[in-house]
């Protein structure tokens, strides 16, 4: 090997830096392309699914029973431009959302507080755990009927239904989170001078937070189910009422349209909760699983 080729192989710092820059932008471009591909494929999945449905409902099956995307779109359009039989669509959405949000907040607060209490108070948990299990085994949707008797046809009975649906998943996660606090953290805090209350606030609650947040994702979905089922069982306004009205008039497109509305609400809540979770869990190391966590 000649001396020339050796010196040619030695890169200057600038060249290395430039190379690094190129590599970085190449990686970014590849990532962008990949994201574009994923979204394009998602759109294709949607188009194929709805297209097949539309074609089948037009030529093969009876759209009276199964409806079809164009009819559903038409119904949604009508609701938003003209209004529903139960007043403007926004007023219906707002009622359902209020019930779900109140039920969610009350259920989550109650679940977190009791879950952490049970998680830290061993005796309490031992004594009451069979009762909690029994209550959890009650088919809670049935309670919607009971709550209407108790609280009437107004918003309170739906909040109560949403609350009981939200409470249990949050409670069990908070309980587990409070139990699985790293023994080392607690010992270290005791040595450093923390009191029992300080340990609860600075160690137990933050430790349980990631468990609790994980449960809140599904919990809002439950709150929405609670609100809608409650309305379906008896109310004057809300998405559940739209569904029961549509059912009463054999309007399958109306049922689908209400379904889509509630799906959109749940997805919006998911986005908001996801943002809150990212803020609260900023301290967590980025995990390689995050990329796959889209589902």
């Amino acid at each position: 090997m000649s001396l020339d080729s050796v010196s040619a192989a030695v890169l200057t710092d600038e060249q290395v830096a430039a190379d690094d820059g190129n590599d970085l932008s190449a990686v970014r471009a590849a990532r962008r392309r990949h994201r574009g591909l994923v979204w394009a494929l998602r759109v294709i999945v949607l188009v194929v699914a709805f297209g097949t449905w539309e074609l089948l409902a037009t030529y093969v099956i009876d759209p009276f029973y199964y409806s079809k995307p164009s009819l559903i779109a038409d119904r949604l359009w009508g609701w938003f431009t003209v209004g529903t039989s139960k007043g403007s669509i926004w007023s219906n959405i707002s009622v359902t959302l209020q019930e779900a949000v109140y039920g969610f907040i009350l259920g989550a607060v109650l679940g977190v507080v009791l879950g952490i209490l049970f998680g830290r108070a061993r005796l309490l948990a031992e004594v009451l755990s069979p009762f909690v299990q029994a209550l959890n085994a009650v088919p809670r949707i049935v309670l919607a009927a009971l709550f209407i008797i108790w609280f009437g046809l107004g918003i309170q009975s739906k909040i109560a239904t949403a609350l009981v649906l939200v409470f249990f998943p949050v409670f069990f996660n908070a309980f587990q989170g409070a139990r699985e606090v790293d023994r080392n953290f607690v010992d270290n805090a005791r040595i450093l001078g923390a009191s029992r209350m300080q340990i609860l606030w600075s160690i137990v609650v933050p430790s349980a937070t990631s468990w609790i947040l994980a449960s809140l994702h599904t919990a809002f979905g439950f709150a929405l189910i609670g609100a809608i089922v409650g309305e379906y069982a008896g109310a004057s306004k809300g998405i559940g009422v739209l569904i029961s009205t549509a059912q009463g008039t054999f309007d399958s497109a109306g049922i689908y349209a209400a379904m889509i509305l509630s799906t959109v609400l749940a997805l919006l809540a998911e986005v908001i909760l996801g943002g809150a979770e990212r803020r609260l869990l900023r301290w967590r190391p980025p995990s390689p699983a995050t990329a796959a966590a889209g589902i």
Binding site: F185, D187, N188, R190, L192, G193, S202, P206, R284
Partner: protein, 270 residues
């Protein structure tokens, strides 16, 4: 005369999870004087750490007495600092918030606690890292945070449970040097548990050898090496090698015993 730390016939038993009783330490007599650096060595898993948890008050002795500052230990005694084997810093707190935790929990106001924490973060060589979270730091840096977190409370007794065992060799030597530097200005007594005899001799004024499980005190050896010490250089000096040989004779017998029992009880975690 009262000692800073005094254990007499201290015994600790645990349920071993199989319906029986496991004796971690038996009839341990140990005294530590103010400002003294004592290293405790013994075979891996013999119960050395249990000695520390008795002194710290995290666990009560099953039998015997444990006194700190002439008072029987009942709860966490004043002036005790404890550095655990694994990281115990809170991952959701920044370096600053972790180091300031002790003073804040002890009722100091926020500004003063943060000032003191900043000062200690600088002293352990982490200036500029105050806002970092634990996962953003290397193993050695995390040990520095743990040191600052413990020392910010200005303990008069510093308990250390194999604090550097998870570090690579070079970082470990660096941290040993750092520990000696910080300790030299502190006047605190140190009880340093390790299974690494080299580490014990390099750091300590006195090396205590414990037997295989259940651990008892086998012998104590003074380490008359001059201070300040350079941990890297010291290992190669003739005096160091002599002391090492002497203590190793006592320790190796115990290591053999411990290996044999470990082979007989494959389920026991070493």
């Amino acid at each position: 005369m009262t000692h800073l730390v005094e254990l007499r016939n201290a015994t600790k038993r645990f349920p071993n999870g199989k319906g029986g009783i496991h004796t971690a330490i038996r009839d341990v007599d140990l005294t530590v004087e103010p400002g003294e650096f004592v290293a405790v060595v013994g075979p891996t898993g013999c119960g050395k750490s249990t000695t520390l948890s008795l002194i710290s008050g995290l666990q009560p002795a099953s039998r015997g007495t444990v006194e700190v500052n002439g008072r029987a230990v009942d709860g966490i005694p004043d002036g005790v600092g404890y550095m655990f084997q694994s990281d115990a810093m809170l991952p959701w707190r920044s370096v600053l918030a972790n180091v300031a935790a002790g003073p804040l929990w002890r009722g100091e106001n926020k500004a003063a606690a943060h000032d003191r924490a900043r000062d200690w973060i600088a002293r352990v060589g982490l200036e500029g890292f105050e806002g970092y979270y634990m996962h953003q730091l290397s193993g050695g840096m995390r040990k520095r945070v743990a040191l600052a977190q413990t020392l910010v409370n200005e303990p008069s007794i510093l308990l250390m449970d194999e604090p550097f065992s998870a570090l690579d060799v070079q970082t470990r030597a660096l941290m040993q040097q750092e520990l000696l530097r910080l300790w030299a200005g502190s006047n605190a007594a140190v009880v340093f548990v390790t299974h690494d005899l080299e580490e014990a001799i390099v750091l300590a004024d006195r090396v205590i050898v414990m037997t295989a499980s259940p651990a008892r005190i086998k012998a104590g050896f003074p380490v008359a090496l001059a201070r300040p010490r350079d941990v890297e250089e010291l290992r190669t000096t003739a005096e160091f090698v002599d002391i090492y040989r002497e203590i190793w004779r006592a320790l190796s017998a115990e290591v053999d015993v411990s290996r044999k029992t470990a082979r007989k009880e494959p389920n026991r975690v070493a």
